[in-house]
């Protein structure tokens, strides 16, 4: 006669000892407990489990156990919801040659009733799984990477030509917190390129305007509007609240200030600059590659450094360069791929060419070199006074 379900449980009980939650809880708490295998389904696991447990749904137990427990003599405690599926799973392990397998009596339900600690795994909601499904499909991102992005904080200096596309795409990508530093207001002449703003928001602070656009695109992104100019009094406090800086500033004093603040707070800096048909982009990882001053020890004089307002800029160029910044920021946040650290990318839209230059750490760099005396300075005065030339305001 074929064995019934009760027969199978009875047979398993003969060879698998049961352990009460109160017996094993102190060992789980102090880290000396057995390897805990939770054989419930994913939806049950997602509701909570024993601390430190490993999730192997019962259907995958035979195929996956050796990867988790290569030693047949290892002490294993099997857990499920009420102690029955885990009993049969423990019997399976016993039959596979594991010599020290026990079953959690009453399962997770009794563990929880006895008020022992529970770990609730962090998971994406159904809405997040849907919204970020194309990211989750990419092996280099996946659910784990997406959660990392949701926990990440990016500080964008400027919500203008570069900041508009960068902020838009970082928000769409689910970067959880975006800080926007801009004291300027939306002007009609911005709308040819600063696509995060709209005609009916002309006159509004750019950070506030961008916040409205982001709220419409991805309401779960926290947008911090910082409607002031960044300076040496506020930069360290601000930058240290974020994981990456996206530099879309429009003047050299701010760029050199950010470069030094990036080093002082160990915050990676994603750089881009634009003029007419040409864009530059790089990534400066503090002390792990060159910094901005290794590349450009000094700013050029004003006539060699006109602003986009003086010399013009192709609107689309901002989209390309701002999105290169967004791409690099995401890679920095996820620690994937090869960033532009150590390289300067030059995009010439007129010739449609991308040129790469090598950027190396300068051993004599006054900001990141071994003998550097790094401290925040009056960058306006320094930019105006370096060398024999005067002034450098974009």
């Amino acid at each position: 006669m074929s064995p019934s379900y009760q027969d199978l449980l009875g047979n398993a009980r003969e060879v698998i000892p049961e352990v009460e939650p109160s017996e094993v809880a102190p060992r789980v708490a102090d880290g000396t407990g057995p390897l805990i295998i939770d054989v419930r389904e994913t939806a049950e696991w997602d509701q909570g489990h024993l601390p430190g447990a490993v999730h192997i749904p019962r259907g995958f137990l035979e195929s996956r156990i050796s990867g988790t427990a290569p030693d047949l003599d290892q002490e294993i405690l099997v857990s499920c919801a009420s102690g029955q599926r885990s009993l049969l799973s423990a019997k399976t392990l016993h039959d596979m040659g594991f010599t020290n397998v026990t079953n959690l009596a009453g399962g997770f339900a009794r563990w929880k009733q006895n008020n022992h600690p529970v770990e609730v795994p962090r998971i994406l909601t159904a809405a997040q799984r849907s919204r970020y499904s194309r990211h989750i499909l990419i092996p280099e991102v996946g659910e784990e990477g997406q959660m990392k992005l949701l926990d990440s904080k990016a500080l964008l200096i400027g919500a203008g030509g570069l900041g508009s596309p960068a902020a838009y795409y970082l928000a769409a990508a689910g970067v959880g917190t975006i800080g926007l530093v801009d004291d300027d207001e939306v002007d009609e002449s911005n709308l040819q390129r600063q696509i995060i703003h709209t005609t009916d928001r002309v006159g509004m602070n750019k950070g506030e305007s961008a916040k409205q656009a982001i709220a419409a695109l991805n309401p779960e992104v926290q947008v911090n509007v910082h409607p002031f100019r960044i300076n040496r009094d506020n930069v360290l406090d601000l930058v240290s609240q974020y994981d990456v800086i996206v530099d879309g500033a429009d003047n050299f004093p701010t760029r050199y200030l950010l470069a030094d603040a990036s080093l002082m707070t160990n915050t990676p800096l994603v750089h881009a600059s634009i003029l007419r048909f040409e864009g530059h982009a790089s990534v400066f990882k503090p002390y792990d590659g060159p910094c901005y001053r290794c590349l450009f020890p000094e700013p050029p004089p004003p006539d060699l450094a006109p602003s986009c307002g003086e010399a013009g800029v192709l609107g689309v160029l901002c989209g390309v360069m701002g999105n290169i910044q967004a791409t690099e920021a995401i890679k920095v946040l996820l620690d994937i791929g090869d960033t532009l650290s150590g390289r300067l990318l030059i995009y010439d839209a007129l010739g449609m060419t991308f040129t790469e230059l090598k950027v190396r750490r300068d051993p004599d760099c006054p900001s990141c070199g071994p003998n550097a005396d790094l401290q925040l300075r009056d960058y306006e005065a320094w930019c105006a006074g370096v060398g024999s030339h005067a002034g450098a305001h974009a």
Partner: protein
């Protein structure tokens, strides 16, 4: 003759050209020949003493000439020089 790429801010000084040909066996010679042909460029990238301003980066192909032999860095006919001042624009 090697090729010199002119950045946007110097193009007016080079007659609007994005690249120009210049002769010379070293970075210094090529730049001198460039500045002879286009004195307005020299006025912007050279000091009164004829030295290159510190804010001017010069690359030979993809390498920074400062990290090689600076103005003595050899330049061949197939090499490309790139003059690179920083740009500040972002808005």
């Amino acid at each position: 003759m090697s090729t010199v790429k002119i950045p946007p801010v110097l193009r007016a000084a080079a007659g609007g050209e994005r690249t120009v040909e210049a002769s010379g066996a070293t970075v210094g010679e090529v730049l001198a020949s460039l500045c002879d042909a286009h004195p307005a460029i020299g006025a912007q990238i050279l000091t009164a003493d004829g030295e290159l301003h510190k804010f001017v980066n010069v690359y030979v192909n993809d390498e920074d000439a400062r990290l090689m032999q600076w103005t003595d860095t050899p330049v061949g006919d197939d090499d490309t020089l790139l003059i690179l001042p920083a740009m500040a624009g972002g808005q």
